[in-house]
């Protein structure tokens, strides 16, 4: 075990980083001690990822100094940072899908025999590290076949193999199920107990309160609070992040269901079996379930992205079982997909063009042409209405922070005013202020008489928004609960496949 050391593991002084049109970091000081789990919080676009990129040698700061283990460093690339004992798990994983776990772990730091990769040694190394840190994963599995939780383990193993003493994790739990997140925190705590240091970027207050030692809060690129976790509260952190008092865990009034908008009977497709469900106007139906139990496939089939094997789907009484995605949209369906980068947006296109997509077919089209002024005005309206932080409508969508890209996507789809909204993981990677904004928007959408089908891995989100909760397990709907009956324990049990205590309601 490393003896406690006086000098900090990481010390940033006066870090300033400017992007065209944005001051992402403004004279940021950050001190992280050896052996602590240090949370870095802040709203979307506050500059957390940028600060970590600077620390990790991926971006050069415009001003400021970095000290690691008390020594001045000047990183020109991530390899320099790695050599100094840092390691980072990025917000989007940096893995090779077609290579094995062992190959991913040892990549660029391979055990060798006569210049060849010593595969046996690589496998052994993965097993050793896995056993030592409780990160079990099959060294021979193809990384592309692994669920997200295991991919993240591979990322962490990769850093440990390189001897990282300070681990930086950028929103590591955004894509994890609650159980996977708990497992991750157990690992992080044991790493900290060994004397390693963890810097954790996250939006989840609960994780910070339960899992961290100290918290630094950024707002608009500046440090606005340095807190000791044991002496602070969720309200204090939230207030520091947003600059105002935030009402956490707000309870929304229930909806008033009207006519049936979506009616699904006996639907089957890949990984989905015999699903019946109805969604009425003025209600939000939530689908809870551990990721990979068919929720994504179900929603894709409803959106027209996946062929329906059997069953019927009707939208406002009209059969759309085999309709194309375009037909469905024209008939009154809007869709917020789970993967905002690959499916939901075109990252290389501008913010304005991204906001125009879909609307090009309807409101924005004028005799088959898209008047640029209309596109720009439309973009400005949505940017304003949903509080999207973008330097200009012409800026490319890839320059938006993760949370702002999500706001863009939700805003665009809500603006369709479609009778039915399918929405997957609406607040993944989104800050608490924005979560409330998005939740308010969804509730307002429901109250305007629209039907919403919501899939979320966040139980609190499902419980907060949904008027009815369906639980999906192994491709089937295994339980249905009314809002009041859906407490966390009951849902958790049903999600794990425990079917004994179903509180079926008649609808």
């Amino acid at each position: 075990m490393t003896p406690p050391r006086a000098e900090p593991a990481v010390e940033l002084r006066g870090i300033t980083k400017r992007f065209p049109g944005t001051l992402a970091n403004d004279a940021v000081d950050l001190t992280v001690r050896h052996g602590e789990i240090h949370a870095l919080m802040g709203e979307n676009g506050a500059g957390k990822s940028t600060l970590m990129s600077v620390l990790y040698g991926m971006e050069l700061p415009d001003a400021g100094t970095i000290r690691v283990d008390g020594r001045d460093v000047d990183f020109a690339s991530p390899s320099d940072a790695m050599a100094a004992g840092l390691g980072m798990v990025h917000q989007s994983f940096k893995l090779f899908g077609s290579l094995s776990v062992a190959e991913n772990v040892v990549y660029a730091a391979e055990p060798r025999r006569f210049g060849l990769v010593d595969r046996a040694a690589a496998r052994r190394r993965v097993r050793e590290l896995a056993a030592e840190h409780g990160l079990a994963v099959d060294p021979d599995a193809r990384v592309g076949d692994l669920p997200v939780g295991l991919r993240q383990r591979v990322e962490i193993l990769k850093l440990l193999h390189r001897g990282a003493r300070t681990l930086i994790l950028d929103e590591p739990t955004a894509v994890l199920t609650p159980a996977e997140a708990d497992a991750l925190f157990a690992v992080l705590k044991s790493l900290a107990a060994e004397g390693r240091t963890v810097i954790l970027v996250t939006h989840k207050l609960r994780e910070v309160l339960e899992g961290s030692d100290r918290v630094t809060v950024l707002r608009d690129g500046r440090v606005v609070a340095r807190l000791v976790t044991s002496e602070t509260s969720a309200d204090e952190i939230a207030a520091a992040m947003t600059g105002r008092a935030v009402e956490l865990d707000r309870v929304h009034a229930p909806g008033t269901p009207g006519d049936v908008v979506l009616e699904v009977s006996g639907l089957a497709t890949d990984a989905v079996r015999d699903v019946d469900l109805t969604v009425r106007a003025g209600e939000i139906v939530g689908i809870a379930g551990v990721a990979g139990n068919g929720q994504s496939e179900l929603i894709e089939a409803l959106a027209g992205l996946r062929p329906v094997g059997a069953g019927h789907v009707a939208l406002q009484g009209e059969d759309i079982t085999h309709a194309s995605a375009t037909e469905r949209r024209l008939k009154g369906l809007a869709y917020v997909p789970e993967d905002r980068h690959a499916v939901g947006t075109a990252p290389d296109a501008s913010v304005a063009d991204n906001l125009a997509m879909g609307h090009h077919r309807t409101s924005l089209s004028s005799r088959g042409l898209l008047p640029p002024t209309a596109v720009r005005a439309h973009a400005r309206r949505l940017v304003e209405r949903f509080g999207i932080k973008a330097s200009a409508p012409e800026a490319s969508a890839s320059a938006l922070s993760g949370g702002n890209l999500q706001k863009l996507l939700i805003g665009r789809e809500l603006a369709h005013d479609a009778p039915l909204l399918l929405v997957e993981q609406p607040t993944r990677g989104v800050d608490i202020g924005a979560i409330q904004n998005i939740h308010d928007q969804l509730i307002a959408y429901r109250d305007a008489g629209h039907a919403v089908l919501l899939v979320s891995a966040e139980l609190s989100e499902i419980r907060g928004l949904a008027d009815r909760v369906l639980v999906m397990y192994e491709g089937r709907i295994t339980a249905t609960y009314d809002k009041d009956a859906a407490d966390e324990r009951t849902l958790g049990l049903a999600m794990a496949g425990g079917s004994g205590k179903q509180v079926e309601t008649v609808d």
């Binding site: 390899s79 790695m82 899908g97 990549y107 660029a108 890949d270 496939e297």
Partner: protein
Amino acid sequence: MFLDSDLLLSALRALTPILLAALGGAICERAGVFNIGLEGMMLMGCFTAVTTSWFTGSAWLGVLAAALAAAAYSLILAVGAVTLRGDAVVLGVAMNLLAVGLTGFLLRTVFGVQGTFDDPSLAGLPLVGGFTPLTYLSWAAVGVAAVLLSRHVWGLRLRGVGEAPDAAATLGVSPVGYKYGAILVSGVLCGLAGAQLALGNVTLFTENMTAGRGWIAVVAVMLGRAAPVGVLLAALLFGLAEAAGFRLQGLGLPQQATDAAPYVVTLGALFLTTARRRRRTRPSGAAT
């Protein structure tokens, strides 16, 4: 008997240039560079091999010069696609067209002839056991490439670069370096392919004498899924088709029809494999 050892021998001879070029293409493919400039690089190799052999009297110097010249020519793709981030397909097509024009022009300026240059005193490659040494080299290259790609540290890094360049970069592996390396190696291999064609299969230079072999090599890379042994099998298929074409010609079929044999096989093979692949990659689950 139609399928006999003669046919096999001529198939193996026809195979060599395609195989060498396809191995180069496979290495590029693994590094994430779609190289369709094989044809042009090979043609530059043909011309350089003949010219150098003619002026030095040594076929071996011709081989060496062909490898160097084609590697230099491949820099167009490296600089254009990797450094300047241009479109590799456009660059490859341009390289192929440029090579035809350039070699035709040089043929006129250097040798003062049009169409074909051949001379009995032009030194060709020696035959050892019925094949040129380059043929044996090409077989060895399959094994070496297979081991390097699947087992060597370089191969692992190259495959990583091809699949996720930014992931490789965060681990300190330079995608630019590996892509340049792969393209230069493909240049060398295409140069050897050209030398084999112009000093081995025949001993002469004709305008556009590669006649689509570089394109067939591109298809062999796809069919063989950019794995050296797979590429060998695919190239062998084309070698057989070419040899069978000659044979059919002997049986009285018109040359235009028999010359089409390798291309017909190419099309058929492409249809078959893409149909098979399509069936296999039906959506089975959303990957995150």
